[in-house]
Homo-oligomer: 742 residues x 2
């Protein structure tokens, strides 16, 4: 079979995923929606989420157009092309669509999951998981449809034949232009993660502080106008943000492997096309395996999810061997990667090493964040003496938790590189993400179940419903932890391969030498950026939360019916009794007076306004440093990778550990005498730790992985222009020539 | 004049400093010591401090002997020499002695400062400052006596003439052997900083938690057996730890410049000797300027300190021009540094750039940590809504505070390198530290005044005495902030020059290429180490504090007289009245029953036990990675520099900002209604932030600068062996030859 024909399999696989998503969405929409109250709440959440997306995308559209114009105008004519602007716009659009599809279905599935949970665990699991699967398939479907379609179009446009040893100059242009897609995806992902992260934490903190602490009403109470914003935030941050994030990772790891594969020009473009085919096969496997996720009433939903995700990864690994072998078989059994002979087994081992590393990091991550394990136990123990020791312990746990993952990443780089060179490192990253379709289904299933629980609470469903949704939410955690491991490891490995690609495109035979003062300056500046970026993100959460607090306070003060109802609820709460039927009616009526839309609008505006500054920092830094010196830009990327990965691991694990330490304290028997359980001083300390951890794990931490890759892909895209500007073009040309003559 | 003759000026200057220290110590010991109670307390502090040093040095002696034996046995015969063990032992000994002298005089000067403060501000300032000056001069005196003496000895031993173009192989050996001195100094400094940091914070947290929070007695009360340990801790951490720290920085920056200077072999060894002569001149200037520090009663002590420290720096800068000019004049007006012609003005500008960068970083650091400025104001503001927002704000401030210092360091590297190459970068580091003698006097003056205040409190001196010592303590802050700026900037620049030296010694003409997977693995591992190291340090503080808490609780429970007295004091405290004379007598008698020695012993043992693990990590990591690959070790050093500098700045500034935010809240008018001032919820939140910041700024943060340099100097010392092992020796030899032929 020709490779050229095989290319069509790529967008077809993407279309299959989208078809699955479409059909499943229709199925979900047909499920029962529950009571009127549930319907109303779910409508509010849906509208709020859509309002946020609309506002966000309006800003981002301007941004995308502006950047596209600049990219188009500055594209270097010999080694790039103005079409890079098209790639960028398409990448951004697909990323935005993935977030949109995912969030739309999630806000439909949450209420239906709650409704189904009234009947039992199995039907609820089915809806929540399928909701997640729509998200997962939208992400991978749009990615492969976009990337595959563009690739086919560009091979035609630039006159590159994938079945013959390509004209390296032409193929270099093609790859550079295609990289614009990844840049578009990463840009949108960064804004979505940061904006979503600010939104969700601002609403969360604002709602809790004024409602629970100041007014004394229960959490998630419908009298609190910020509660809906809080629920919207969960969708905006955990669903749309995560979707854009994984879209970015997925595309980045494919492009990274393609660029490095383009160097190995043994036969035709086998090594460059292989990553796309592996991704396409991963989609088919993911779609099939979603049907394996089902549980009987009384069965263990954990097994169902694990079976789906791990089953898919295992099948995919085996399948990859044959796919790789097909490609290497066409060029005499091995790729020639920069002088190194890399055969099927070498590439397969590299992929396996990546998968193994991701799984192990996931297990370590799980260990550091799980209840009952040493790290969380130590935080619970230290909470005894108050918030200060709780915080010191949590920060210590977070710092410590960087050690083993970094050793594992180092081992994976070593192993993959040993067996298959830098191309192997890129394949290792891709291996972890090839089953993103189903992996993301499990990840997105978590927030859907969580939201279902919130809706059950607000709608006054029986407590067993809430128990079921909590049960559903909890079981996804292990698989989600592994997913986190994949995200961390694949980000580091993909950044590494993109970094190597940048060096190749910008500097050719010139090296980035670590003792060169320019490079060292770059390393230091790069190391600083993740700190500055995190500072901006955390400050944004603080400021946005303040806006929310002010608004909720205003409503509680200025709306008389609301004020009266609040007093009723708070009094009943403090007397530990239920409301009388008359009180209940009064409170219910007052709930309609709460100006929910205004809170949603405030969270929306605040988060969108404040996502811009860190986003610009991420985009501008590599451009400015690159204009000064492409060597310094190399240092910058390495520095950002170095401190960014550490901070990301530190922040997510510290946040996760604080979260579960709080939960562990809450599960202790209530005994304030001995400083145990809810209501004790220990619990207060644990709650404070959890609050500090919130912006760590939900805003700054997850954005850092994107920051690292966005900066690298920007560098890759501007590399040809930098090479031309700084006269390292000659060197770059020389490489191309020497590569061609091999 | 021959350079050979000039060499004798170096140990002579060292001897002058030591003579100053000796004479001044005698003068201090002659000052009045105050009441019997003061004498007793000061004796307890003195004994506790000496007990710690004795215990610490016992452990370190074993460590030093073990490392010396290994160094001696593994020294590469052609490019190093077993004498490196002698250098190492001497470096460690001098560092230990500097800590010992400094702490001995500090524990003598504190009580005398308190005694003098009864008479007025001026005499108290004189004693506190001179106490600090003894410390400062001991540090620089021992450094130059040791380094200068060894250098003279080694030039004879290795048959190197400093007045002729040297045999590069011989000179390479000499420099490598001399670097052992720096390694000895850095090793001791790391243990002293970590051990001292754990001691002081364990005692502080333990004393406060059980005394103030649980038993309800005032801070620093003599009934609390941990109070003396707390005061000992201030000396152990802030005086001895800081002394060893600056000894290490001072020696490291001199050696770094010498190694790079050795490459510039234009005439004789001018460029290698120049740093020593600048340091020697700096000593003389410092000694002279100490006499300029005096204030009249009613005068501003700030001006006196500023005048001394800045005056010395200014004079030294001007003087440096002439010293540089003398040396360049001998070789035709310019050094030839690796092909670059560097003249007097170029070198002078490099030094000036370094000084300017240090001063500006100091100002920025001051800004981020000062009361009334935006960062601290934002923490005070966010403390309104509790500890969680206080902590998020503080962490945000700390993260943000890395930005400008890193830009300044980058600018300094750029400027110094532009005008004088990497040698210029090394000189820039040295320029900041050339007046360490007087700079450290101002730094050490702070803890002495602080301790004097504590003694005044515990001895029941009139409140105006405490006010005067507080006043003294406060004025040193600006100068101390500048000193902090110097420490940060010089650490980064010195590490950079040592890094370049490592590359030269280990790899010769081979480059450390950033896209090499081994180097990238090194960068990632190196980036992780400061996080793991900080985790260990913070965990150690937590564990040691727990030991202390347990002991104080035991005493409060098991010693009946103590228990009874505690109840009296706590009751009086809660009723806001003074003790009756009978009660007072009873409490005073009970105070003698508190087992102070036991608390001191616990803090001592805990801190010494727990300083070992992080210390071993710092020493072992470069050796292990180096054995695997010298290229990866290069990456490791860069990674550690990159994330270590950020974490160090983050931790010290966040800690400093929390500290002053607490103080700012305490200065607000007491108004719990509006959540202002002492006793308010805002104050509680600020206290929690301050406690979290304590191990940041006093344990982990300051140790990181040493960690960076220790790892680099270890790499420099083992470089010849690594080069031989990995066959990069041939390359290294080739460089030496090519350098010779220039």
């Amino acid at each position: 079979m020709d490779i050229q024909q095989l290319l069509y399999f790529i967008p077809v696989a993407g279309a299959v995923a989208l078809a699955y998503a479409f059909i499943t969405t229709r199925w979900i929409n047909k499920q029962e929606i529950g009571t009127d109250r549930m319907k109303k709440i779910s409508e509010q959440i849906f509208k709020g989420a859509m309002a946020f997306l609309a506002a966000e995308y309006k800003v981002l559209a301007l941004f995308v157009v502006a950047v596209a114009v600049i990219l188009g105008l500055t594209a270097h004519e010999a080694s790039s092309h103005p079409l890079v602007a098209l790639s960028f716009v398409l990448g951004a659009t697909c990323s935005g669509l993935a977030g949109f599809f995912g969030m739309r279905v999630a806000t439909r599935a949450n209420v239906r999951t709650a409704a189904a949970a009234r009947g039992g665990l199995a039907p609820a699991l089915k809806i929540a998981f399928r909701g997640g699967a729509v998200m997962g398939m939208s992400v991978v479907g749009l990615a492969l449809l976009g990337l595959g379609g563009l690739f086919i179009f560009y091979t035609g446009f630039f006159g590159v034949s994938v079945d013959q040893a390509p004209d390296v100059t032409k193929f270099g242009r093609l790859i550079n232009v295609l990289a614009g897609f990844s840049m578009g995806a990463s840009s949108i992902a960064l804004f979505a993660r940061v904006g979503g992260g600010i939104y969700t934490k601002a609403a969360d903190v604002g709602a809790d502080l004024v409602g629970k602490v100041e007014a004394g009403i229960p959490e998630d109470h419908f009298l609190n106008p910020a509660t809906i914003a809080d629920n919207v935030g969960d969708n905006v941050g955990d669903v749309a943000g995560m979707g854009a994030d994984l879209f970015e990772s997925y595309v980045g790891s494919i492009i990274g492997a393609m660029i490095l594969g383009a160097v190995a020009v043994t036969g035709g473009m086998e090594a460059a096309v292989l990553p796309l085919i592996i991704a396409a096969a991963g989609i088919i496997v993911s779609v099939v395996m979603t049907y394996a996720v089902r549980t009987k009433e009384g069965g263990n939903p954990q097994h169902a999810l694990d079976g789906g995700a791990f089953g898919a990864a295992g099948i995919m690994l085996v399948l990859s061997y044959f796919i790789i072998d097909f490609f290497t078989g066409r060029v005499g059994g091995a790729f020639n990667f920069a002088g190194m002979e890399v055969d099927t087994m070498g590439l397969f081992i590299a992929m396996a090493v990546g998968l193994g590393c991701g799984v192990l990091i996931g297990i370590v991550t799980g260990y550091y964040c799980s209840k009952g394990k040493r790290p969380v136990n130590s935080i619970v123990e230290q909470s005894q003496t108050g918030p200060a020791t709780n915080l010191i312990a949590g920060i210590g746990v977070g710092f410590e938790s960087t050690a083993i993952p970094i050793l594992l990443i180092a081992a994976a780089i070593f192993g993959a590189n040993h067996f298959a060179g830098l191309y192997g490192v890129a394949l290792a990253a891709l291996g972890m993400l090839s089953t993103t379709g189903i992996q993301l289904a499990v990840d997105a299933y978590g927030p859907i179940s969580d939201n279902a629980g919130g809706i059950a609470e607000m709608s006054g469903l029986p407590s067993e419903v809430r128990e079921r949704t909590d049960n559903l939410d909890a079981v996804g955690n292990t698989t989600a932890a592994i997913g986190k491991g994949f995200a961390i490891a694949s980000a580091a490995l993909a950044a590494l391969s993109l970094f190597a690609a940048y060096k190749q495109l910008a500097l050719g035979t010139q090296d980035i030498i670590l003792t060169d003062p320019q490079v060292l300056i770059g390393v230091l500046l790069g190391g600083m950026l993740p700190f500055l970026f995190s500072a901006m993100a955390m400050k944004a959460v603080g400021d946005a939360a303040m806006d929310m607090i002010t608004e909720v306070r205003r409503q509680f003060r200025d709306i008389p019916v609301l004020k009266a109802a609040l007093t009723l609820v708070a009094t009943a709460e403090s007397e530990d009794r239920a409301l009388t039927p008359e009180e209940d009616a009064q409170v219910l009526a007052a709930g309609d007076e709460a100006d929910v839309e205004r809170c949603v609008a405030i969270s929306t505006q605040a988060s969108i306004k404040r996502m811009i500054q860190p986003g610009i920092l991420a985009l501008a830094a590599p451009v400015i440093v690159g204009l000064w010196s492409p060597h310094a830009l190399g240092g910058l990327l390495a520095g950002t990778l170095c401190s960014g990965v550490m901070l990301a691991i530190f922040m997510s694990n510290a946040g996760g550990a604080w979260d579960n330490a709080k939960k562990q304290v809450e599960e202790q028997p209530r005994d304030t005498e001995n400083n145990l359980g809810k209501g004790s001083e220990r619990h207060k300390a644990a709650v404070i730790g959890d609050t500090v951890g919130d912006p760590f794990k939900d805003t700054a931490g997850p954005s850092l992985n994107i920051l690292i890759k966005l900066m690298t892909i920007v560098a890759v895209v501007i590399a040809p222009s930098l090479a031309a500007m700084h006269g390292s073009k000659a060197a770059a040309d020389k490489v191309e020539v020497s590569a061609k003559s091999e």
